[in-house]
């Protein structure tokens, strides 16, 4: 020892860093990755691989040649975006479309704002919505899930999602009960384990909840956004269902079908694009929940999760300004006695 290091306090640091958080999210997505490969076969693996590789590539090349900043592809954030983008598309999407989606996600939604931490919107969702409005046919033809190695069914068969069946049927004048009783409707149990048509990562509620539990345990996410999101969506859809169960889907099916669980736990909770104070997070969650049901019931699309989250992302700066954390000593009258 010849020279003493001098720096301001604190002199110790907690165990979390950006990398450990990002890779924690990746670990949380592993069960859903397995389920997607189980039901959609190697096609699912293909989509995930292309999406991740493209996201990492665009992050690297933009950082190196356009932003001329330090190497950031190993911080895990592009990896998370890559997996999430793959989770948000059907397993039969052509490779070049996945690459285009990755370019929009990383290039436009993330790097053009300055990279990690600067993006106002969730990059994977921007990529998904770009693909959805550019290639509506390919983005809404869903391969029918089949257990891996199950004989008889080929990959070529496509069919609608749970929400798609219901939306079509209701607008054709059928009741929810008729539709849910019809042949080929996945039902609650299949939606829970993942045997339903849909994007790669959204099909299995159980796998997603397992990963979410891990993120809670690791303290990567807090309860505020998920609880407010699910709570408001459940209550809103529940009220509609009580009013007329023939034309409104019951709240439990709303939770299990479509991208609800994926959106609530993996995308609405994205730190960068969601509010910072607990109060703000509750407002964000309630808003996203109401918008999701609003779009699902009255919108043109059967699914509303991505639009709902993106709209609330846009409100995040305002929410941050309006909903401050409770300051110490605020609003607590001095107790006498």
């Amino acid at each position: 020892m010849s020279i003493l290091t001098v720096s301001g306090s604190p002199h110790v640091h907690g165990h979390q860093n950006v990398k450990s958080i990002m890779y924690g999210v990746v670990v949380a997505m592993i069960p859903a990755i397995f389920v997607s490969v189980y039901f959609f076969g190697l096609d699912a693996a293909r989509v995930i691989f292309i999406s991740v590789a493209a996201c990492l590539f665009f992050e690297w090349i933009i950082q190196k040649y356009l932003l001329k900043g330090p190497l950031t592809i190993n911080d895990g954030s592009a990896l998370v975006t890559g997996v999430l983008l793959a989770f948000n598309v059907p397993s039969n999407l052509p490779a070049w479309m996945i690459v285009a989606g990755a370019l929009v996600s990383i290039g436009i939604a993330k790097m053009s704002f300055g990279g990690l931490g600067k993006n106002p919107f969730n990059p994977a969702l921007i990529g998904r919505v770009f693909l959805l409005i550019s290639f509506p046919v390919q983005m809404t033809s869903w391969p029918v899930p089949k257990a891996l190695f199950a004989p008889g069914v080929t990959d070529a068969i496509t069919g609608p999602t749970t929400l798609g069946i219901l939306k079509e049927g209701i607008s054709a004048g059928k009741t929810v009960q008729e539709l849910m009783g019809s042949a080929g409707f996945p039902g609650y149990m299949n939606d829970l384990v993942g045997a339903q048509g849909g994007s790669l990562g959204e099909i299995s509620a159980i796998a997603l909840l397992l990963g979410a539990a891990y993120m809670f345990f690791r303290r990567i996410i807090t309860w505020h956004i998920p609880a407010a999101y699910i709570g408001s969506a459940f209550v809103f859809s529940g009220i509609l269902w009580l009013v007329n169960p023939a034309i409104y889907i019951d709240p439990v099916m709303h939770m299990l079908a479509g991208g609800m669980i994926l959106g609530v736990f993996y995308m609405a909770t994205d730190m960068v694009s969601s509010p910072m104070s607990p109060r703000g997070q509750l407002v964000f969650g309630v808003g996203a929940g109401l918008l999701t049901i609003l779009i699902r019931v009255w919108g043109a699309y059967p699914e509303g999760v991505s639009f709902a989250i993106l709209i609330m992302n846009a409100f995040t700066p305002l929410i941050n300004k309006a909903f401050k954390p409770r300051r110490f000593g605020e609003a607590l009258p001095v107790k006498k006695g």
């Binding site: 301001g8 306090s9 002199h11 110790v12 907690g14 958080i21 990690l116 730190m271 110490f328 107790k335």
Partner: protein
């Protein structure tokens, strides 16, 4: 079990020296006693070069309302009066005394006998504490007699005694509570009398079960004093957090604890009060924890004020070869020292020797807006926002966002996954906002 509600973190406790009984550090050959060691106005030097002083003799007088007397901690001859680097890193005037023997001032009762009977009146108590240069020994060094002068219109209801010691590594208060408990309890009674309060609560975190047990047995003999075990959470030893944890009250922004009827003193201060009032003994020595993972013998030492920190490290086994940083205080709020020749002062609660591999900060990356700094802030502030405002020199907005409420506990920087030096920016911002407010007053 009680604790404060808002924010907080759980750094590794690393109380390496918790089992080490307090040892007396041998007298050094020279002491360097800074003339100003407390919060408030500088004290006025009253000795000259060449003067012969006794242990406990007054050498600098606190003349302002908020200032404190300083006494010689040794007997000997004033060889120089010069600028020395103190623990804060600034050069300050200090009295250098060559130690000769250890002759105490005649007024001081040096016997070991515990004097339990409190004969002094309230006014005498305040005067004694002021005379003996007692300051808050938790680290803030606020002159203790000022805390006893309750402002007009306010009333103290509770005395809170801070035995939390929430800083990792530090154990000096823990040892005091075990080894000097009776004197400390009498000190608490004196403070209760000085404040005219009926209740005193000693807050102790439950990671010191021996101290809680020991004091709970003893307090039965001291009416009005109660031990309050607390859940372990940093920064519970913060004044406002301790008041919240024990009484449930929140001190309003910019106000003092007396606003909610509380006065907080550290356990070490209670002992110093006992010695000042019962034994006529000025604050010339204190217990300092010397600790670190590579240190041979983590210790708790009774040290004369003005002893160079190198002497303490020598006693604890010498400076380890892998040393990277030496901290005055604990790892969360302590100051990194620039030299080992700085003297121990009244506010030195510990010396932490950090190995080189733990001395560097982690690399800084972009903020990912995870809001962990907000959720751990014990004052309910938004460190990320305040740091940004400071960085962009938007100090008026920072003031509105209550940057001055920051207690500099460091929880935000501790928890930041991007390694951002949030507290550095907040300190800068607080400083600038303070200047702006002072200039406003001048207009």
């Amino acid at each position: 079990m009680k604790t404060f509600k808002l924010g907080g973190v759980h750094p590794e406790e690393n109380k390496l020296s918790a089992g080490a009984a307090i040892e007396i550090l041998p007298l050094p050959e020279k002491v360097f006693i800074p003339v100003s060691q407390s919060l408030g106005a500088p004290s006025k030097l009253i000795v000259e070069k060449g003067a012969v002083v006794k242990t406990g003799q007054l050498i600098a007088k606190g003349e302002a309302f908020i200032s404190a007397n300083v006494h010689s901690s040794v007997s000997g001859k004033v060889s120089r009066i010069e600028e020395v680097t103190d623990t804060s890193g600034y050069r300050r005037t200090a009295v250098v005394i060559d130690v000769e023997g250890d002759e105490w001032d005649e007024q001081i009762d040096c016997s070991k006998e515990v004097k339990a009977e409190i004969t002094h009146s309230r006014e005498e108590i305040v005067r004694k504490i002021s005379e003996m240069g007692v300051v808050g020994l938790g680290g803030a060094t606020f002159p203790s007699h000022v805390k006893l002068m309750v402002p007009e219109g306010k009333k103290a209801e509770n005395l809170l005694i801070n035995g939390v010691e929430c800083e990792p590594y530090l154990t000096s208060d823990h040892r005091l509570m075990l080894e000097r408990s009776r004197e400390m309890l009498i000190g608490i009674q004196i403070l209760m009398k000085g404040l005219d309060v009926k209740k005193a609560y000693i807050g102790i975190e439950k990671n010191k079960p021996d101290a809680i047990d020991h004091l709970e047995k003893l307090v039965a003999e001291y009416p009005g004093i109660e031990v309050v075990p607390l859940k372990v959470k940093y920064p519970q030893g913060g004044e406002k957090q301790l008041i919240k944890a024990i009484t449930g009250r929140e001190v309003p922004s910019g106000k003092l604890p007396i606003e909610v009827g509380c006065v907080v003193n550290n356990v070490g201060t209670a002992l110093a009060v006992y010695e000042a009032v019962q034994k006529n003994k000025p604050l010339v020595e204190r217990v300092v924890t010397v600790t670190g993972k590579s240190l041979e013998k983590p210790s708790n030492l009774l040290v004369r004020i003005g002893t160079p920190v190198s002497k303490l490290i020598e006693f604890a086994g010498g400076l380890p070869a892998d040393t990277g940083k030496v901290i005055n205080g604990g790892p969360m709020m302590g100051k990194a020292l620039t030299s080992l020749e700085v003297p121990v002062v009244k506010g030195t609660s510990g010396l932490l020797i950090m190995p080189e591999k733990e001395s560097r900060r982690m690399p800084v990356v972009n903020c990912i807006r995870c809001a962990r700094c907000i959720s751990v802030c014990p004052m309910g502030l938004e460190p990320v926002l305040l740091a940004q405002l400071s960085e962009n020199q938007m100090f008026e907005t920072a003031e509105k966002e209550r940057i001055l409420d920051c207690i500099e506990c460091g929880s935000c920087h501790f928890t930041c996954p991007a390694g951002r030096p949030l507290l550095d920016y907040l300190r800068l911002g607080k400083n600038k906002v303070g200047i702006i407010i002072r200039n406003r007053g001048k207009k």
